[in-house]
Point group: C2
Chain length 447, copies 2
């Protein structure tokens, strides 16, 4: 192949002194930090892109608010007009949520603007539509900030590991729930109390649903699984359990096993060794992991993503999962990349869904389980309980008794079993007269 | 800016079924794994690139050796002819060393081939020449495998964090020395004995100089510093101390402080707060770090790189630092990226040295120190020793005495001081009659 001199390269030369013009959608914690850095680090950004980056407009819901350090003339409430302006080259979306973000991003892409977004919810719900619009317009859609804040994980999955076969991605991708679980572990406090503390400290929102019910983590899991396995996974494909049911007893029980409870986003490729098509399972739920696992030491509001692949082996990426600074860092990294691409007349990788793998239902997922049962009388009931597990082919690894006689509690850890078999076992356990309650069922991962 | 339809995109469409042709230089542990994966994963690689990748030749020193699973017809001993063949698009260099690797890479670049290399020594010695040749030819030079094996660190530094200001990069980037130090820590064995064990297990080479004298780590430090700080740093700019002088006493002493000894590659940007130009310091040496530091838990032959930046905060990247599989994963990730760029008529980021920062001499580096001294009589000599530190403005944090009278040992940990002041202090200590020997001086980092 001969070397091709492309016309965009010549254009670029002619336009070297012309700024690339940036529109910003949203000016909250992340947006205002992005604006501040775009203005404050203009010299470095220009050197890295090869052309100046000029912030030409910021779309906000309400104009007139004082935003320190940012020229008031930049603000507009007319976002649709801003993203389609002829003189805008690049659009940053940090509004979040589905609408109006989706309409604005689609309008920008269709008008030939490259887009950088931090919007995990939108990507997980309708990423396919956005990627198709970017592909059709020949522009970039970058989203490093959508998962795990400043931790570079999107680019490693899309590019660094693209020559490898990734077999699993396990992440702590929600800082709020990690902060809460970490506090419950270190202070022995209950969920409600710890959530209230996290809200006071600003680590949890007034309405904590998206975090504690794991909607946020599920959206990120969908994005990670799509990239890792070259297939489309949406938020609706992700099995999801939040942390509201995690009790101090669960955490104490994990501790006795040398484990900790973490909210994990788990994306796995089935082995497919027996010639069947490889399927993908994606789930987000609290789980016990051994303290020796690299993810166990990820404390406070930090995030980490643990990746296993055929050739590279086990990799981990660790860092702050949220916050204005870290998220702005990821947004600006993407902005420089799409701006460089624009200068070179190039575009980055698009959506890769060629593998089109089926999604495994949660029932077929195989893992280990930790169960707590309140039982009437241990001596009499253990045989019945063991029989119940055996009937569903679920093998028991350990049984531990806590308390005695009338208020006895049994803690059972199983060997690997399918979720369906375990669920059927639990249903039958609940029907036993001697079992007063199945107080907790939690998966055991990372071994 | 309007959307530009580039002619390469049209070329690419016409050539969609045509393979991109790959030449491989070297067929040792890494090369043979790259060849195996290129052939075995052809279907996936084609889907990810958009065109097939075809391995058309492998340059080796001696032909005729049986290399299981690879077509003997692919082998050639004429590497210069292979890299300049008209029908070769992409060249992978995994020979290592300076020559003939440099001449071959330059010939390939000048003939319009994009190059993927794992050659840290060459990049650290003469990367500038290679990058200039790539830039001039409008082709790519990628090198993810050159630092920390499969751990994605080059791309995160070149792209993900390119909108941020990185202030320090601290890495465990040599698996052999980490394996040795880890064994010395866990088994209490000496350096020579542990090196011999590492050699038997295949973790250290017969001639371990490049690893234990830290030449390998210094080359990687130069590459990391160049990328992090947008300036050119060569191996010669790196201050280097190996691990051959690390004693069991040092390791025991670190343990008493709640620390471990690691060979660290440390790249730092000076604060420049007082209006001076920001300079860069790059050094590789054994150091004590607290066990609570994320790098302290990196055991065995694993690598990790810890990055701090203004906006993103503290990030860590962890994984296997060497080996055929991990290195091949990094090489193939780069190969897919440069192949995609080729298909799109684009190229990735080139060398970024716009900041052109001066290199600080080691004497101006400020850190803390751990010293072991054999002294004649503690009661009598402590005042003299303290005076010696005070004269050079080095402040003592702790003094600990081990043993008594004639065979007493003093362990001193300082507050932060410049390397020059500390060295002058050590010189004066050696002149004191009561100081029999300064048995060890080690830096204390990560606090």
């Amino acid at each position: 192949m001969t070397t091709v001199v492309t016309s965009p390269a010549l254009d670029a030369q002619a336009e070297r002194s012309t700024a690339l013009r940036v529109a910003l959608l949203g000016c909250g914690t992340v947006g205002s930090e992005v604006a501040r850095l775009l203005i404050g680090q203009a010299h470095d950004l220009q050197a890295r892109v090869g052309r100046p980056l000029e912030l030409v407009g910021i779309a906000v819901r309400r104009a007139g608010r004082d935003r320190a350090g940012i020229d008031p003339a930049l603000f507009t409430t007319d976002a649709p007009a801003l993203v389609t302006r002829d003189d805008v080259d690049l659009v940053i979306e940090v509004i979040g949520g589905i609408e109006p973000a989706r309409s604005l991003i689609l309008a920008a892409l269709r008008h030939g603007k490259s887009v950088v977004t931090a919007n995990k919810a939108l990507l997980a719900e309708d990423g396919g539509t956005l990627f198709a619009a970017a592909e059709q317009a020949g522009v970039d859609l970058y989203f490093e900030a959508a998962v795990a804040g400043a931790i570079p994980i999107i680019r490693p999955l899309r590019e660094s590991l693209v020559g490898d076969e990734i077999t699993s991605v396990i992440g702590i991708v929600n800082g709020t729930t990690n902060f809460i679980l970490d506090k419950m572990d270190s202070e022995g406090a209950g969920f409600a109390e710890t959530l209230a503390e996290a809200q006071e400290l600003g680590y949890a929102e007034a309405d904590p649903t998206a975090d504690v019910e794991a909607f946020d983590a599920a959206a990120k899991a969908a994005i990670l699984a799509s990239l890792a396995f070259h297939t489309r996974v949406t938020a609706g494909d992700v099995y999801r359990e939040g942390i509201t049911e995690v009790s101090t007893t669960d955490i104490a029980s994990a501790r006795e096993m040398g484990s900790v409870v973490k909210l994990l986003a788990i994306c796995q490729l089935s082995s497919g060794d027996d010639g069947r098509e490889q399927s993908v399972s994606v789930r987000v739920h609290p789980a016990m992991i051994p303290r020796s696992h690299p993810l166990a030491g990820v404390g406070g509001a930090y995030n980490a993503v643990f990746v296993e692949s055929r050739s590279a082996g086990r990799l981990m990426f660790y860092g702050p999962g949220a916050g204005g600074g870290p998220t702005a860092s990821a947004v600006l990294g993407d902005l420089v990349t799409v701006a460089r691409n624009r200068v070179r007349g190039a575009s980055g990788p698009g959506e890769s869904t060629y593998a089109a793998r089926p999604i495994s239902p949660i029932g077929s997922v195989i893992t280990r389980y930790h169960l707590s049962l309140e039982v009437a009388d241990v001596a009499g009931v253990l045989a019945q309980i063991a029989q119940c597990f055996a009937e569903h082919g679920v093998s028991i690894q350990t049984v531990r008794q806590q308390g005695r006689a009338a208020d006895a509690q049994l803690v059972i850890v199983t060997h690997r079993a399918s979720d369906a078999d375990l669920s059927a076992t639990v249903d039958d356990l609940r029907d036993l007269d001697a079992v007063r309650a199945v107080t907790s069922v939690m998966r055991v991962e990372g071994e």
